[in-house]
């Protein structure tokens, strides 16, 4: 099954839209200092100033430029999202992969653990640990990865189990190939695309959880993030400021989640041919 996934991804509308949006977001995050003259944490001299030429999206209650905060918030979201998803994908590949390969008691131990972790809603341990640790960005990444891996490990394990039984592997085995050869030449290359899909889904969930945590005020107060912007702005709904302070971070967050959802959806259809119509 040597399919050109990239070509399939580009053919689907959802895939194209998702890719363009994600590229756009990454570009904005990388170029944040260029796109805004202001520093997101700096006092600019005007409080609650409405959008204008000086401040494209106005300023907030302590005189910070909202546009700059929005741009730098993209950095936080993407950094935490990608970092946590990467870590979780590695963990799940390690645990899910070995569980699928080795089987037996080891497999049963991990799958029982994964089952138990999966019935706990992820937000609950996130808030609990976050409340105690008052996490920095690095700790948030580790925390989210610790929450994301069980679901992903299950997907990786299922994939390994199915790959193990496929014809090329059986053929290689009849030719006398050792486990190392099968692993390197057959299983790992075939697992790659699945890990990409798992990673993209992980980014979406991590971005969502990060925004939720910072919306509750958990996390490093010095880090600009969309969730924290919304938490602050929500206190001032009696003023008109929500139009340029509360809506943009919410829309940016929804756009980011949507972009990764589209990409994930497209990848899923690419990898499961039966869903293709």
């Amino acid at each position: 099954m040597h399919v050109d996934y990239w070509a399939h991804l580009k053919q689907s509308n959802a895939g194209r839209a998702g890719l363009i949006l994600v590229c756009l977001l990454v570009g904005v995050a990388v170029l944040a200092p260029v796109l805004s003259p202001w520093n997101p944490g700096a006092y600019t001299g005007a409080i609650f100033s409405p959008p204008g030429r000086e401040h494209w999206l106005g300023t907030n209650d302590v005189g910070q430029d909202v546009w700059a905060q929005l741009l730098f918030g993209a950095r936080t979201s993407l950094a935490v999202g990608c970092g946590a998803a990467l870590l979780a994908t590695l963990l799940s590949a390690l645990i899910g992969g070995t569980a699928g390969l080795l089987g037996g008691l080891y497999d049963r131990f991990w799958m029982r653990a994964v089952d138990a972790l999966l019935v706990i809603p992820p937000v609950i341990p996130a808030i609990l640990v976050g409340a105690y640790l008052r996490p920095s960005l690095a700790v948030t990444v580790a925390l989210l990865a610790a929450i994301l891996w069980p679901g992903e490990a299950r997907v990786v394990r299922a994939q390994i189990l199915s790959l193990k039984e496929r014809a090329p592997v059986a053929a290689a085995r009849t030719f006398g190939a050792g486990w190392g050869h099968i692993l390197v030449r057959h299983l790992i290359p075939e697992l790659g695309p699945v890990l990409v899909a798992v990673f993209v889904q992980g980014v979406r969930r991590a971005v969502f959880l990060e925004a939720g945590l910072s919306f509750l005020g958990i996390g490093d107060p010095a880090v600009v993030s969309w969730g924290r912007m919304m938490q602050h702005a929500l206190r001032f709904t009696y003023l008109d400021v929500w139009k340029w302070w509360l809506l943009p971070p919410g829309l940016a967050l929804s756009l980011t989640l949507g972009a990764f959802a589209l990409l994930g959806f497209a990848l899923e259809t690419v990898f499961h041919p039966r869903l293709r119509r």
Binding site: A116, L117, I127, A131, T237, W242, S254
Partner: protein, 323 residues
Amino acid sequence: MLRDRPFATYVLAVFVILSLNFILPRLMPGDPLLAIYGEEALLAMSPELKEELVRRFSLDRPLSAQFLAYLAALFRGDLGHSYYFNAPVSRVLLGFLPWTLLLTGLALCLCAALGVVLGIESGARRGRPQDAVLLSAALFLGGFPDFFAGTLLLLFFGVTLGVAPLAGALTPYAGKAGLSLVLDVLHHLTLPLLTLVVVRVGPFYLLTRNTMVTTLGEAFILTARAKGCPDRTVRYRHAGRHSLLPVVTAAGLQYAHLITGALFVEMVFSYPGMGTLLYRALLTRDYPLIQGILLTAALAVLTVNFLLELVYVKVDPRVVRAR
């Protein structure tokens, strides 16, 4: 899907949460009492009270004894003392829990009912414009973070139009009773409920629709049509009923999302449930209260999941026979 989880899984999950609750304050650097109660509470504490608390948590004994003491306290319903409310955590929780249960319970019922009906109608019209519109709407709304959806509704209906209350679950000191009280509660409930339903109806709908699509291709549908059953009957009695099964399984998972979603949505609407309480506890760093809220939420989710699994066995006899 996740239908034949053994009871042990739930026991293990409860154990994981309890150990997390137990170990976190004790892992923190410094005095565990400080981590259990927070700095602010400890400043106001007299040495006698401190000593009493050390004894109560068995902090002068090994970790295993501390864990047993913690479990024993939980079984007595003792979740600790809320510093901010100056009352037992369990009593504080009982004041806030009913509102959350009302909100999430109604949301679950509405989501399931609406999702199933929309899913059946949409699945029966697969490929036609109505189906396409519903499908894209569900995909679009499903990606919205619940607190932002709530914020939008609050800004539109509450702030701009002014037709919905901005906070609370009741009009304070209005002295309402009977029907007007019920209407008042519903008036305050509408927006948070709408938020949860709008964001969470998608999975129910998608699941029902997908099952409908496969079910409609099965032989017994052809039989039903051949014997002249009207379209409505085929749709609801035959195919719809058959598509209900996965919804029961999904309901448990969705309740988890609803409870955690409610934590955020309540905060947006200042609805006096567990979410608002959690936010206040986080702001005041009232750790026993934070632990109590999250433990209760987790237990609620686990209980609903477990009960639904029992229901599933009743609804689908194949599960029992398969064992």
